[in-house]
Symmetry: C2
Subunit: 447 residues, 2 copies
């Protein structure tokens, strides 16, 4: 616990904002959470815009530290591997880990958000302000202006510590972006995404195996499906934007699914309606620096997607945001809850890691939509898992380190690079030995 309670304003009561409020309140700080939307525990959840989450070790570790791992995992569905769907309907299961008990966990964003909101609200010192949209802020004084419903329509607040956890299109970051010296980039993929549904089967059960993340890899595009507790699956199409734009009638939608996703089409009675109703989302990578900007009377920092929005293909967006909270908590512990010292330390430790997972997530899209359909790739994965069992703790796959450990992402990348060089050298050595043996054999025959 810190010696002095600090007034912290967190903008954004999404996953990262709520979890961060829990961490800070447990350290004795007074946290006000501002959220532009109404309380989601009263209003209905937004549908059709959020990819299901796959919570893995980094996220679970963060939840464990605030005592929320069990309640969250209770409603989650474990997915120990990928189920690939070929066009002819053939299924291939590929475990994520050499240890088949390890799984990533499917969970709905809205459910998880409600759980975290309840947890934050239950802690002393946490105040929730819904329907507060940040419209401007002054970084030097820590003064924030919020738009609110009804009269007078605006609320002003000031805090010595402001943390923007308000997502990829962060209003806090927008206030920093105009300052000279603030590096910023937003990079979109030429791909969009769209959510669809595979409802529960007529008998009330799952229409497919719920113990897997389902993938329909189709080279330049793909569909995935994650199970939900109500026995439906949330499907997500990842297609080139041009493909979405050109597919606009129920007849053509059905025809395309009959050709490319025939086994799924049979399970999607509402396909055309869902397709035409749901919006096409965009996939963006956002990088910025610095994440921490000291002003005269306040310090502003960014966390989660506001600091580092990444594409969803490694299932690490929320996990990485949760790790931000763990690291900030650790930095506060190391600095005696001195935010002015802890926040720059947090930035120094997290920024490189966020940059690394952004790259890994982009690279994994190619693996998911294309490589997993290849027999060579699947054979490589089997060899990899065999190596992992043969050399436990010495040979570990990238997926294993990203999803089933809390080894920092930069360390994962370094370790995998070393491992690849080592395997290449070992392979070359084996080939050389084989060549020597072959030459020896040939000479022997000539004698």
């Amino acid at each position: 616990m810190g010696a002095f309670a600090v007034e912290v304003s967190i903008v954004g009561a999404g996953l990262v904002g709520c979890l961060l409020a829990c961490f800070l309140a447990r350290r004795g700080h007074a946290v006000t959470l501002y959220e532009r939307r109404p309380d989601p525990r009263r209003a209905g959840a937004e549908r059709g815009r959020s990819i299901n989450l796959a919570i893995s070790e980094r996220g679970i570790d963060a939840l464990r530290r605030v005592g929320l791992d069990k309640v969250v995992l209770d409603t989650a569905l474990p997915m120990p591997g990928r189920m690939m769907h070929a066009v002819d309907g053939e299924l291939t299961f590929q475990p994520y880990s050499a240890d088949r008990d390890r799984a990533i966990n499917s969970i709905g964003r809205a459910d998880l958000n409600r759980t975290l909101l309840d947890a934050a609200a239950a802690l002393p010192g946490v105040r929730l302000c819904f329907d507060h949209r940040l419209t401007s802020m002054d970084v030097d004084s820590g003064r924030m202006v919020f738009q609110t419903p009804g009269e007078p329509g605006t609320v002003t607040a000031t805090a010595p510590v402001i943390i923007g956890a308000d997502g990829a299109f962060s209003a806090v970051r927008a206030a920093l972006q105009g300052r000279p010296g603030f590096d910023y980039s937003q990079e979109f993929l030429d791909y969009g995404y769209k959510e669809l549904v595979i409802p529960a089967a007529p008998d009330g059960g799952f229409a497919m195996d719920p113990g897997a993340l389902h993938i329909w890899p189709r080279g330049h595009s793909m569909m995935i499906a994650l199970p939900n507790p109500d026995r439906s699956f949330t499907c997500t199409l990842f297609w080139p934007k041009a493909d979405f734009a050109s597919l606009t009638t129920p007849e053509r939608i059905t025809a395309l699914f009959a050709e490319r996703y025939p086994d799924a089409l049979a399970l999607m009675p509402g396909l055309s309606d869902d397709y035409l109703r749901n919006p096409t989302g965009h996939l963006v990578t956002i990088r910025c620096a610095p994440w921490v900007v000291p002003g005269g009377a306040a310090v502003t920092a960014l966390a989660g997607d506001a600091a580092h929005a990444i594409v969803p293909f490694y299932g690490q967006g929320a996990n990485c945001g949760f790790e931000d909270c763990v690291e900030l908590d650790r930095c506060l512990a190391e600095t005696g809850d001195d935010f002015a010292a802890a926040l720059p330390l947090y930035q120094e430790r997290r920024k490189r890691n966020a940059d690394t997972i952004a790259e890994l997530a982009l690279a994994n899209f190619v693996e998911m939509r294309d490589k997993v359909a290849s027999r060579v790739f699947l054979a490589q994965k089997k060899v990899e898992h065999a190596l992992e069992r043969l050399l436990p703790g010495r040979y570990v796959s990238q997926y294993e380190l990203v999803s089933f450990s809390t080894v920092p992402y930069v360390e994962v990348e370094r370790r995998i690079a070393r491992q690849r060089r080592w395997v290449a050298a070992a392979g070359a050595g084996i080939a050389a030995l084989a060549a020597v043996a072959a030459i020896g054999g040939a000479r022997g025959r000539h004698k």
Copy 2:
């Protein structure tokens, strides 16, 4: 001339906006130029914020096409090379070109802007609106809202073609940036810049040789100076931001100049005042895509710094922006003045070139502040110029192609890469021949 006159709104009456207005008006289009500042021909020029321009072949070529090359070059001062100032006061002149008649031309931004404004205003169909600050625009309808002085304080206008030529912090680009799919990055150097002055000598003449761009290369920082028609020099410091921040008293400013720029200090009576009064500018590279966004009833495009702000170290910012105007004029000619076809073509041809010069400009900073102080580097440049004279038209330096040709920047980069491989291969061949000769010689001696 186009078959149909089109109403074009250009936002920003800086260098690129004015030159573009000239090109479009000469094609018969009706151009309205909106500028947020007052008419600079009436108000005084802003001082202390703009590096002198070095206009070279690309810029001159553009001016020539609208008949403005002679009037602009009349007031410009040719700089055929660099003059390096060592700490001990030793001077070294290095010509920019093997052909010593070729020069880049020092010119004040404000003077050039006034000349271009006069030229645009003199053309039929051009309307100038000063004191119009764009506050919002709707890309689909082409509706723009401007803030103006006095009552009612806003003006609304609509145009089927809107071109943002409003600089690095473009308001037109800001309207595009919120659209999904718009890639954007702003990247600052850890360096700032500050303008200083070397006034005319007591006898009314130049205090240094006006036939050169003067450089004080000091490893991690530098100062440059360009001559002005009033016989003063505009000096610009390029220092790490931390150095500016730490130097805040007249005594320390003078002491530092005495140590690092002693020959310049003797020529700068107003040094401390200038240093403390003038702001520290920032150096940013801005990249974005697309540059052209079609709406329902309008099309919006970007040109000049609004599309591609670059650092000033290759002296190509304005030259590159002027090339944008030439290319757009060419695309209009090729498409029969169909803006909907010409603008995407313009983007396709210019975007890669702008990306290339952005990289070359960043790389040239290292050359200017560090390498030019090295004897090895100066010797290399002499060899390079000798090769150019030996193999005219076959061996051409990068600086020559960038500054004294209109070869597209991407083509320059490709050609230089080819040339380097060729020189390396030739060097290796000569070394091999020498080795063979040496071995032959050694064998001869052993016989």
